[in-house]
């Protein structure tokens, strides 16, 4: 249980795939035009991440190490394609709003990175937990960036109008706005993290779990 909480905290904050490891930049920049999209992309990637981690952890003794990357890519892309086909047939409305992003999941380097760095060396349960926490960390980062972009760019949050339309700055919806916003979000999160690390170092006498 303690291990589980540690892994979760790792994925969400300390080793956040987007904000700390700077992985998966492409989907982060592309899909954060609205909170709805960001949430959809994040959760879809989380689902794939959990499943691919489990699968690769199960097969870790069978895959020859020389061709492991090729094998991971084949397994991940096969998995994503199957999910896309199933979704298209049985959850059509969901497919319509997410359809664009599903093929993007294959090339999301977070998934390959976790397969290589974690799932190929660990047992099934920790690998599944790792997939869950990294996926949630990815989702958190996407939602943070999307909140800023949707609010400033369109004046809405999840489609609900917050600011009048006259105040919305189209810049934030465009790709350049994505880079600027992501930079500021990463800076803010790093500032918070270093602030907390300093605080933890200051009152070191007690067992402080920040």
């Amino acid at each position: 249980m303690k291990q589980f909480i540690k892994q979760l905290k790792n994925g969400l904050i300390d080793q956040n795939p987007v904000l700390v490891q700077l992985l998966g930049m492409c989907p982060t920049l592309a899909t954060t035009t609205s909170v709805d999209n960001a949430l959809g992309m994040g959760l879809a990637a989380t689902a794939v991440l959990i499943c691919s981690n489990v699968m690769i952890s199960l097969l870790r003794k069978l895959i020859p190490s020389q061709v492991r990357i090729a094998a991971y890519i084949v397994i991940i892309s096969g998995f994503v394609t199957a999910v896309e086909l199933l979704m298209r047939a049985y959850f059509y409305p969901l497919y319509q709003s997410l359809g664009l992003f599903i093929p993007l999941i294959v090339v999301n380097c977070i998934i390959l990175a976790r397969a290589e760095a974690f799932a190929s060396k660990n047992r099934v349960l920790p690998s599944a937990v790792d997939g869950l926490s990294m996926g949630l960390g990815f989702t958190l980062a996407l939602v943070l960036v999307a909140t800023v972009r949707e609010l400033l760019g369109m004046g809405t949050l999840m489609g609900v109008r917050i600011l009048p339309e006259a105040l919305s700055m189209t810049f934030f919806i465009l790709p350049c706005g994505a880079f600027v916003t992501l930079g500021f979000v990463i800076a803010a999160v790093q500032k918070l993290r270093s602030h907390r690390a300093k605080k933890a170092a200051d009152d070191h006498d007690g067992e402080v779990d920040a």
Binding site: I63, P64, S65, Q66, G78, A82, Y90, Y92, E150
Partner: protein, 195 residues
């Protein structure tokens, strides 16, 4: 694992290649099976989607569609739309290149030469920018135009017949070019029926 490979030599290479081949074969088989199992359901979904778009263009009436042969490749599909026995209009399914991919739309005219309207079936335009062309308020601008008089032959023009959405010029233009492509085909049917 690396040590066994040194001893194995050529055999090791064959073993590695074979295991990759097996993985690829299994994954391909699974994907093919899933595709086979879901394809029909997907086609059904697409059909429902199109039916809903056509029905919306005819005030939500229970319409029946009959596919007509299409000439050329300007339109993907062409339908004669009936309510009961009476022909209420013609409908064309066209797609045109937008900013984020193809915009798939339905364009309908009534037999007396009035543009019933435009419905976007699917598109992948930038949310909040290009996606505004699918708003009902914008598409309503197309409804009610007539295909005789000045529009008997000529295409509709952006800025004269319909306005572009600011910040979404490419998407607006894509919708317009789709509508024009549809009208080039639909016009023939209208005049044929009227005469």
């Amino acid at each position: 694992m690396a040590d066994n490979q040194k001893q194995g030599g050529a055999l090791a290479i064959v073993r590695i290649t074979l295991s990759l081949l097996v993985i690829c074969a299994i994954v391909s088989a699974v994907v093919t099976a899933v595709h086979g199992l879901t394809y029909e359901t997907y086609q059904l979904r697409l059909l429902e989607q199109k039916q809903a778009a056509i029905s919306a263009l005819f005030d939500g009436a229970a319409v029946s569609c009959e596919a007509l042969p299409t000439e050329g490749d300007e339109v993907k599909e062409l339908y004669r739309v009936c309510v009961g026995e009476t022909v209420v209009g013609y409908c064309a399914n066209v797609s045109s290149a937008g900013f984020g991919g193809d915009i798939d739309m339905m364009v309908a005219v009534s037999p007396d030469g009035v543009l019933r309207g435009v419905q976007i079936v699917s598109m992948s335009e930038t949310p909040g920018l290009g996606s505004r062309v699918s708003r009902a308020e914008y598409l309503a601008g197309y409804a009610g135009m007539t295909l005789f008089g000045s529009h008997a032959q000529e295409d509709l023009v952006l800025g004269e017949d319909i306005d572009a959405i600011s910040g979404a010029t490419i998407s607006s233009r894509a919708v317009l070019s789709g509508v024009n492509a549809a009208l080039r085909v639909l016009r023939q049917y209208v005049t044929v029926e009227v005469e």
